[in-house]
């Protein structure tokens, strides 16, 4: 158990709902769910969810901390916003799912090899480097995220796609060396760093 996880578990002993409200993006909406299940039924990847959103909200209220944060369900979210527009109680479910995923990540509770969590992290790291996403590098690092052998396989599997993209000039091998970037990179990075600090501080106080 990571230290932060330990600390949080301590702090909100037996009140996971409060923990979520304090630490998860849009978490204070969770209490407003009336268990109608429209979100669960609306999710295009619904069948892949071990615990659909409405059930996760109930689990949060029931204090099932580990089951929720350790679940890979919220990583199934494709941000299609079906749940948000249909929710009769106005819960920003997509954001709550992202928030839970992010919080689980912070606490290091994401199940190992959860591919989307890895990809999402890479995406973030990738854009943090240059301020803009480098699709090629992103793709490559993705293919190799499960080690070299795996990577070669995936790369080969994706070869034709890549070829098609290159032919149509929608992918540029040269990108691997450098590629697009924000000019004021330092300013960009400072701003985001600052934002992260502020967020950590807020959560700290909010939770306290």
């Amino acid at each position: 158990m990571s230290d932060t996880n330990q600390a949080m578990a301590e702090k909100y002993r037996n009140n996971f709902l409060k923990e979520v409200e304090a630490n998860v993006e849009e978490g204070d909406w969770v209490k407003m769910c009336m268990q109608c299940g429209v979100c669960s039924g609306s999710c295009p990847l619904g069948k892949f969810w071990e615990h659909p959103p409405q059930e996760i909200f109930m689990m949060i209220r029931a204090g099932k901390r580990d089951e929720v944060l350790g679940s890979d369900s919220m990583w199934m979210c494709t941000s299609c916003y079906n749940c948000i527009v249909r929710c009769p109680r106005e819960l920003p479910i997509t954001h709550i799912m992202h928030g839970l995923a992010h919080y689980a990540k912070r606490l290091g509770l994401v199940p190992g090899n959860q591919p989307t969590s890895k990809f999402a992290q890479m995406f973030w790291d990738n854009l943090m480097k240059k301020g803009r996403v480098n699709e090629l590098k992103l793709g490559m690092s993705l293919y190799f995220m499960n080690g070299f052998g795996e990577g070669v396989k995936t790369a080969l599997k994706m070869k034709d796609v890549g070829l098609g993209m290159t032919k149509t000039k929608r992918m540029n091998p040269m990108e691997i060396l450098g590629g697009h970037a924000v000019k004021d990179l330092s300013g960009f990075q400072k701003a985001i760093k600052k934002a992260q600090e502020l967020e950590d501080k807020r959560i700290e106080q909010h939770g306290a």
Partner: protein, 299 residues
Amino acid sequence: MAKHEYSFYPGCSSQKGASSSNYLTSVQTMCEELDIQLNEIPDWNCCAASIGYAGGGELPRLTLSARNIALSEEHNPGQDIVATCAACWLSTREAAERLEEDQSLFAEANEALAEAGLKLKNDTPIKHMAEVLIEDIGYDAIGEKVKKPLEGIKIAGYVGCQTNRPFGIHGESYENPKYLDKLVDTLGGDSLPGYEKKVQCCGGALAFSEPEKSQEMVKGIIEAAYDHGADMIVTPCPVCQMNVEVYQDQINETYGTKFKMPVVYYSTLMAVAYGRSAKDAALDGQVIPAKQLDELAAK
């Protein structure tokens, strides 16, 4: 017709050599025809789309968009921000609204931006190009420009998710938006209003990490298009376009299907209908060529 001017946010995928560079090309052609001037936001950054959440917390992600808006407000004052990418549009508009409703977040975002010497006013409307076409230009004006009607071409309007939800185009429904069909009709093509997968998610966010899941959904989208006799699919979203177009071979492999369904941007359709060259319409960007359009453009 009065000249329209916008502060333009192309987004990563529209960059040269990126997955939807063809989108940018056709949009530029379309804008020339419609007398729309796009002023790119200088030094814009990535919006983190809706997948940055694992690494980036709420405020850092909001700050990404805040920076773009601030830059726009500084360099293109008084101009509405326009994005062609659904994810860019959504993230930016969502950020603007979150910062609007939560003043403490707004203050923090500005505190962060100060590090880069920027300041956010956050009073700029943020539009998707489709909104510009429908609300600012209008179907009539769009129709007037048509030189080569897309006669006899059956086109399934695939709206996807993020151009449609949670904001969508004013007056359209989440379940059955009709604007792509209206646009196709306006361009003289045959729309397929009965196409029921028009708002089905393509699983874009999982395309890389869990392709089998997203490709299963893409399969449904293409199948339905064939069922309705579509010659091609039109979409306003680069993620949708790429996802639905480029994995068809893999899908055929997995499911034994024989898909070869062209997926084009509305801007490509317009460029062709406006009589511009295949190149201007970025038809050379089609991994699966849209033959009828090639022919029409060649005429």
